[in-house]
Amino acid sequence: MKLRRRQRERLSLGIQYLVFIAVIAAVLFAADWDRLADAFFRVDIIKSMFPTIITVALRNTILYTLGAFAFGLVFGTILALMRLSRVAPYRWVATAYIELFRGLPALLVLFLVGYGIPIAFPERQIPGGVFGSIAIGLGLTAAAYMAETIRAGIQAVPKGQMEAARTLGMSHFTAMRTIVIPQAFRIVIPPLTNELILLTKDSSLAYVLGVTAQTIEITKFGRDMLNDRVNATPLLVAGLAYLVITLPLSQVVRRLELRYAKAR
């Protein structure tokens, strides 16, 4: 018997729903819920993690992220402008830096900043302690990525904008600062947010620098609790703590994009 088109579509859709329900049912049935709850959702452990996970761990994660982002943004903007410079050596240096630091693991760079520099210059200290080391260690890598993003953003601003600014008597520098770069940043807000979210997660690498109870961040805090209580619940809570940062961030950016859409 030949089915009509609409019947075939309905049948295909029905089968897909059936498969979905079957898989869910299998998982629900097969999972050992008591043991899962015991390993991942011990309410007493969750309670014991508060308020420290918020007041110390989450706070530090945010601070490290913002520090690295600020460092990367400033340094990345400088690198982007160097890549677009008329002075060839500036372009070479910026290109070499970007290629180098995009190719190195963030962890290695963090080791270099945290241990390599103190060995080379034992008499000097990186300002800001652990915070400074992380901001610079992660920021150096982030700057390489951000530089490429910002350069693309600057080049995406129509040439007529620079021309109009120059014909009004603005210097190249003033035109760049007041006309081109503000527009470039509106263009690169989505990719820069991506970078901010990546940095939020990379801030978990801070543990390699040997954090203390005051400088601990979310992942290290969760792992310490895991060792302490021999239970996986802290990892679940730590994961949720990251989402508390990243999900609102996505929302804020969506708002910003809508607001700027009006001004573009």
């Binding site: 904008q161 109009a164 014909t167 009004l168 008597g169 001004a263």
Partner: protein, 279 residues
């Protein structure tokens, strides 16, 4: 920077400009007197926009010299930013700053370049918005304006710098036909106020009514120039005649092949008054 009244607003001597192997301007000699309105016409690719952009040094001439208000633009030591303050430029694509409100578009260069205070800059900006009929759009963003409004805002932005010379690079070519009139009205008013203007345009009716002189360019040279009634009404050169007949009466082009339909030089006075965009 002092302006010598005896010097023309724009003086161009033997100007050449090449883009790679392509020579766009092949020896232009050209002047615009103080207070004069000059319309530059010609087919696309004739070099008229390049000529205009050379005056503001948006294009670096390959050879030749240019003076603006007595200052040599082609002098390697010229303070370009200072000379540009006296020159207003209006682009085909408006080039308003999209991230700023209309008011801030008009004040930003006043404040950053002329170092005017906010209150003074805004007063001058609002006065110029009134000149172009956009008083109520001060707080709008460019994207919220029609093309004609954007171009008028761009003209007001240039005027806020109080230039002595205004350059227009096909200011109405990107506009819907029904929006062209508003922009041309603003430009006509400006001409009547005595502004020195150099206008690259396809608006033959505007050139006929407003220009003191019309310059026809083709192939990177000035083919012919003179009062509008001469150049548009009784062109001497065959190339000018061919161009004008194409622009003024596009439907006749199809019949050009027939000898008995060879285009007459159209009488300028015979132009319909509302035929502003005869392309």
């Amino acid at each position: 920077m002092t302006t010598t009244p005896s010097r023309p607003a724009v003086e161009i001597r033997d100007l050449h400009k090449s883009f790679g192997p392509l020579e766009v301007l092949r020896g232009i000699d050209f002047e615009v007197a103080q207070g004069e309105v000059v319309c530059v016409i010609g087919p696309s690719g004739s070099g008229k926009s390049t000529l205009l952009r050379c005056v503001d040094l948006l294009e670096e001439p390959t050879a030749g010299r240019i003076w603006v208000n007595g200052v040599e633009m082609t002098d390697p030591d010229v303070e370009v930013d200072a000379v540009r303050r006296g020159i207003g430029m209006v682009f085909q694509s408006f080039n308003l700053f999209p991230h700023l409100t209309v008011l801030n578009n008009l004040t930003i260069a006043q404040r950053r370049v002329l170092r005017r205070g906010r209150a003074e800059a805004e007063r001058i900006a609002r006065a110029n918005l009134e000149r172009v009929g956009l008083t109520d759009k001060a707080d709008a963003f460019p994207a919220q304006l029609s093309g004609g409004q954007q171009q008028r805002a761009a003209i007001a932005r240039s005027l806020s710098m109080e230039p002595k010379l205004m350059l227009f690079d096909e200011p109405t070519s990107a506009l819907d036909p029904e929006l062209v009139g508003d922009v041309l009205t603003v430009m006509r008013k400006l001409a009547e106020e005595g502004m020195t203007m150099m206008v690259v345009t396809h608006e033959m009716a505007f050139a006929r009514d407003v220009a003191d002189r019309v310059v026809f360019m083709d192939g990177g040279v000035v083919v012919e120039q003179g009062p509008p009634q001469e150049v548009l009404g009784a062109p001497k050169h065959e190339r000018t005649r061919a161009f004008l007949s194409r622009v003024l009466d596009p439907t006749r082009v199809a019949q050009l092949g027939q000898p008995d339909q060879a285009p007459e030089p159209p009488a300028a006075s015979g132009l319909p008054a509302d035929d502003r965009r005869a392309v």
